[in-house]
Amino acid sequence: MTGADSFGSSPGLLTRRTFLRVATLGTVLGSTLACLPGSRPSAAPSRRTGRGAERRVLRILQASHPVAEYDKWFDGEFTQQWATENDVAVMVDHVALNNLLSVAASEVAAQRGHDIVGFLAPPSQFEDQVIDHREILEEAENRLGPMLEVARRSMLNPRTGKCFAFSDNWVPEPVLWRTDLWGRSGVTPGTWDDIRKAALGLKATGHPLGIGFSQDLDSNMALLSLMASFGSFVQDEQSNVVIDRKETVDAVTFGAELFRAGMTEEVFGWDPMSNNRFLAAGRGSLILNPISALRETLRDRPELVGKIAAAPAPEGPSGRRGMPGAVSHYAVWKFARNPGMAKRLLLHLAAHSRDIALRSGLTNLPSFPSAALDIDQLAGADPILRSAGAPAMLAAAGEWSVNVGYPGYANPAIADVVSQSLIPQMFATVALRRQTPPEAVRAASRRVESIFREWRDRGRI
């Protein structure tokens, strides 16, 4: 045997030929063993009753909740208890929020997947693929009273009359601000004008404002809130585009002034986590975000307890209006295997939305206000929320929160405007002095008109 036939130079070691044989045999054997039935965990574990009959499996897909304990409770206790009572198995799967639409699109393409998908924005693009949820809405309203407008206008398409989702809860988006830093300015962020007055001083002390001018959802929501409080809207109640108006120019002019006075260029690269990081790092003096950011910050920075407050959306010349951080939209696919059970579960969710609110740390609030009339007391019993002065803000959140697309309904055109981030682009070009406010508004209006025309041609608005 020569050196060329063996590993290394020592004769008698494993030969190449033996090595190849062993490796090939190992690969084949391993693959074969792996292919044997039962060698891998099955995709959908069989759910059998004590008598051996197969139980129906209801599958839910939703984004992971910012409060980790909420998912543990929802997946492991709440839905399982309902499953036992209804002799059905419930499986809850989670994906990151950014991937939810891709997974939903994949299920539509395959016409197979989960029974219920929990979206956090109006899934109007899937209207043709979901059942009409009006029956669930009517039954829930019979039992629980009227649904909040911020939720109702996010799940109904007035043009087709279809209710393309069902909302059991929603997430308000208040202002979270550092009371210790703002104390020196002598004002509180009650109005947008107050924020502008304090901005320069806050930035000078190294604590700028954190309002995104970027292509993420938080930026879209914050700037739509600013516009709405200036009386500027993308569409009217009849889904006509009305963005090209004086109020929008005023809002954009104000946004650019606010940026120059109180923000840094970081806001052009804002991502969904930026608000939280900005507050937790102790740099930011104000953000617009659901209170989950407050909890996360105080978990890692307990020394900030009592130094962060939660307030309603700022008031503008036209009033106090704020977009929600999210609205839950549970949608049952037309190809769901258990649509009947899915409807029953959605009604169960609505009926227990007070429990859902509590377990979410009051990040989520019921879409049916009568399901939890004691929100301020619940929040008052929570030391973190009490320290932030949040109880009153949460109790009144339904009054100042408006849906995306206000004063009209959420529709696929509005969804496109948000997904293409036309509003942050409009603000950013003015903030960066690339366009004047009227030019930026006209440019945005042309693109919005084009989107609306396309969806109007498709008969969806």
Partner: protein, 278 residues
């Protein structure tokens, strides 16, 4: 002369050290983030590249306690090794044919294999969802074993083709003269000589398969069926809350294992190859 040698060595160490520092920094960053307390991580007054407070194992505990991380590791290994097996089984004969036959149709097939690798997964995941559903592999790891070779096979075939072309045909012809069949010549002569290329392709395919995200996140939704690349973001990126510590711990552990494995494997392979050819 000695002084010049010393200067040369110093320069070498300086350049290598600089490169090593740049390459090792992501691992270092993962390491300190995985073991820093949340407070240490977020306080801007702290120096970010050192431990300002005592290290903690809490993030590792959280990863192991709150997620099915061991399942994800197991699934990743299963998918990675299966894809390597499928890739080699398809690429080896394909590359051999492309290297040894020069008919026009062979060249066209070679070009087609190459072109197929240019279609991005973001375009393919929707039609492939239908396919995966039709063969009833939705939410099964086998869907990934089925689909991943679609991007590992083209690259691997081209790598192996290039290598096979460097092997003199004389060796193979000698084997044929000695009475080997074409298949036997491939198995007994070509493959042993090609071991370095095969290991290279195995590493290439394994890395591609274990890093893939788009197919993984759309075809697999059950927590217990996920791989590391899809499980970590699905369970540790919660809306706008990102659990940096557990996320980095989850990435650091397999990175270190794979890094050591690759380094050891390549070192062993090169020493074996050099020894075998001498």
């Amino acid at each position: 002369m000695r002084r010049r040698g010393g200067t040369g060595a110093a320069t070498t160490y300086l350049v290598v050290g600089a490169f090593a520092s740049v390459l090792a920094f992501p691992f270092y960053w993962m390491f300190i983030t995985a073991f820093k307390t949340g407070h240490d991580l977020y306080d801007p007054a702290n120096v970010p590249v050192i431990f300002n407070e005592s290290p903690t194992l809490e993030h590792v505990r959280q990863l192991l306690r709150d997620t099915p991380y061991p399942h994800w590791v197991e699934n990743t290994m299963f998918v990675g090794l299966s894809v390597v097996a499928v890739t080699l089984a398809v690429s080896l004969p394909a590359a051999y044919a492309l290297a040894r036959y020069s008919e026009p149709c062979v060249r066209r097939v070679g070009a087609a294999i190459f072109l197929s690798s240019l279609v991005p997964p973001t375009l393919l995941f929707l039609p492939l969802s239908r396919l995966v559903s039709d063969v009833r592999l939705h939410d099964s790891l086998w869907s990934l074993v089925l689909v991943y070779p679609s991007f590992t096979v083209p690259g691997s075939t081209w790598l192996l083709t290039g290598f096979f072309k460097t092997i003199p045909a004389d060796i193979e012809e000698a084997a044929l003269v000695d009475g080997c069949s074409q298949l036997r010549a491939l198995r007994s002569v070509i493959l042993p000589v090609s071991a370095p290329a095969i290991v290279c392709v195995a590493i290439f395919s394994f890395t591609l398969a274990t890093n893939e995200f788009v197919y993984g996140v759309t075809f697999i939704t059950s927590a217990a069926q996920k791989t590391i690349s899809t499980g970590l973001p699905s369970h540790l990126v919660r809306g706008d809350v990102l659990s940096w510590g557990p996320l980095m711990a989850g990435v650091l552990m397999p990175s270190l294992v794979m890094g050591l494995l690759y380094t050891g494997l390549v070192t062993w392979l090169m020493s074996w190859w050099v020894g075998a050819r001498s």
